[in-house]
């Protein structure tokens, strides 16, 4: 008897693919957003932070429900896209990416914002007095000095994306060989009583998550 079969390999590969793409999107969007929230003063700043952080505290099924409303075939964005292209994101692997992205985003946002807010104002001001623009100062002073917090955020986001279940079930469903990421495969395996396969997947996911937490802890200690 082998520990792994083709379907399990598919789930592992899909989980890594979904988490990688979602984390890349999180890096691209959460870092600039964290910078704006940390450094700019504008009306509605804290409300924006609350809205973007909500997926951290909402049940993932609720987040998934909102995603259906927005991206479903009749959704606010999904509707026009479907009419235009005939394509809808629901029940595709991209939907799993979207779900992972939305729930992982606030973890990155929170850690990156905290790290950027802790950068001494004098470093930023001295950069300005040396003739550097805000853009250059952000890239060469704020980002490097927030590096450890940002790395911790990236790792947390990836780990969260790997473990995403609820919102993914809502918008990507449980389609074997298409959208069954590791957490979803574990749910199916347990449901059908395939315990030995479920055990392998559970142990793998636990080891991967534990490894990422270890990296975060190492970085977090060095931040302080």
């Amino acid at each position: 008897m082998t520990f792994m079969d083709e379907e399990m390999f598919f789930s592992i590969r899909l989980s890594l693919q979904v988490a990688s793409v979602a984390t890349a999107l999180v890096i691209l969007t959460a870092i600039p957003t964290a910078y704006v929230l940390a450094r700019k003063r504008f009306r509605g700043r804290e409300i924006l932070d609350v809205v973007l952080t909500l997926p951290l505290v909402l049940p993932p099924t609720v987040t998934g429900y909102y995603l259906i409303i927005v991206f479903g075939r009749k959704g606010l964005i999904g509707g026009p896209v479907y009419e235009w292209t005939g394509w809808n994101i629901m029940f595709t692997w991209q939907a799993a990416v979207l779900a992972s992205f939305v729930v992982a985003f606030p973890l990155m946002l929170k850690t990156a914002r905290a790290a950027m807010e802790s950068v001494d104002e004098n470093f930023i001001n001295v950069s300005y007095t040396l003739g550097h623009s805000e853009w250059e100062t952000a890239l060469r002073v704020v980002l490097p000095l927030s590096k450890r917090g940002i790395i911790a955020g990236v790792v947390l986001a990836f780990a969260r994306a790997m473990g995403e279940f609820g919102a993914t079930m809502m918008i990507a469903g449980n389609l074997p060989g298409r959208t069954d990421t590791m957490p979803i495969a574990i749910y199916s395996l347990a449901g059908s009583g395939e315990w030995s396969k479920a055990n392998v997947m559970v142990i793998l996911l636990t080891v991967i998550s534990g490894f990422f937490l270890y990296i975060v802890n190492r970085h977090a200690r060095r931040i302080i």
């Binding site: 001494d120 004098n122 001295v126 550097h132 000095l145």
Partner: protein
């Protein structure tokens, strides 16, 4: 020419109303904490906007409330050495100094930085990080970083307050040497009267947000009253 300043600013429980003018000389703003000295530097550099007044440097208007002119800090030609020096902890001595060489090409910047490293006795420390060098060396790196872009005036906020006495004396000499080389207005903030007398060409006494006296060090043989 030189630096002409007239500034008014009211903040919670404090108001500043000052007016002074200096040439290519070292002016010391002396006064107790909370007299408005650092706030003056922050307005000169553009981080705090005055309610009223103007700042003119070498004939160029950097701020004029009436004319609604307010040049951004990035575009003001001041070199500013902060009280805590604010050396970038993630950059080596060389990179800190190079960071000040804004606008110069990489080659020119390196040549200039090497020149400053030699002149400021920082040779051999190029690859060290700020936490790996002494207090006096940090002062010189901060000065080099502020001067490498050839500012038209230099602002120093209690630059020597963290140093012990022998090093303070050494840095005063160093500053005097700098003055001979860079003929620009230098504004130094301190609450150490001995230091003010030792380095100043002109002493401007701050008291509760106004100027109580102005004069050469010889005119202040003793510590002013108040």
């Amino acid at each position: 020419m030189g630096l002409q300043v007239k500034l008014e600013k009211a903040v919670k429980g404090f108001s500043l109303d000052i007016n002074w003018e200096i040439g290519n000389e070292l002016a010391v703003l002396f006064g107790y904490s909370g007299a408005g000295k650092t706030m003056t530097l922050q307005m000169l550099s553009g981080f705090v906007k005055p309610d009223n007044g103007f700042i003119r440097l070498s004939g160029t208007v950097l701020h004029d409330s009436a004319g609604k002119i307010n040049i951004q800090p990035q575009d003001r030609p001041f070199g500013y050495v902060f009280q805590d020096l604010a050396l970038f902890p993630h950059m080596t001595v060389m990179k800190n100094i190079l960071y000040g060489a804004t606008g110069a090409s990489k080659k020119d910047g390196m040549a200039l930085a090497n020149c400053f490293i030699r002149e400021f006795k920082l040779g051999g420390l190029e690859r060290r990080y700020p936490h790996e060098i002494s207090g006096g060396q940090k002062q010189r790196v901060a000065l080099a970083r502020a001067l490498i872009r050839q500012p038209e005036a230099l602002l120093l906020d209690e630059p020597f307050s963290a140093l012990d006495r022998p090093l303070r004396l050494e840095m005063r000499h160093f500053l005097k040497d700098l003055m001979d080389r860079f003929h620009i207005p230098v504004v130094l903030v301190t609450h150490d009267f001995e230091e003010a007398r030792a380095v100043a060409d002109k002493i401007i006494i701050y008291e509760n947000g106004t100027i109580s006296q102005t004069g050469s060090p010889e005119e202040f043989p003793k510590r002013p009253v108040n």
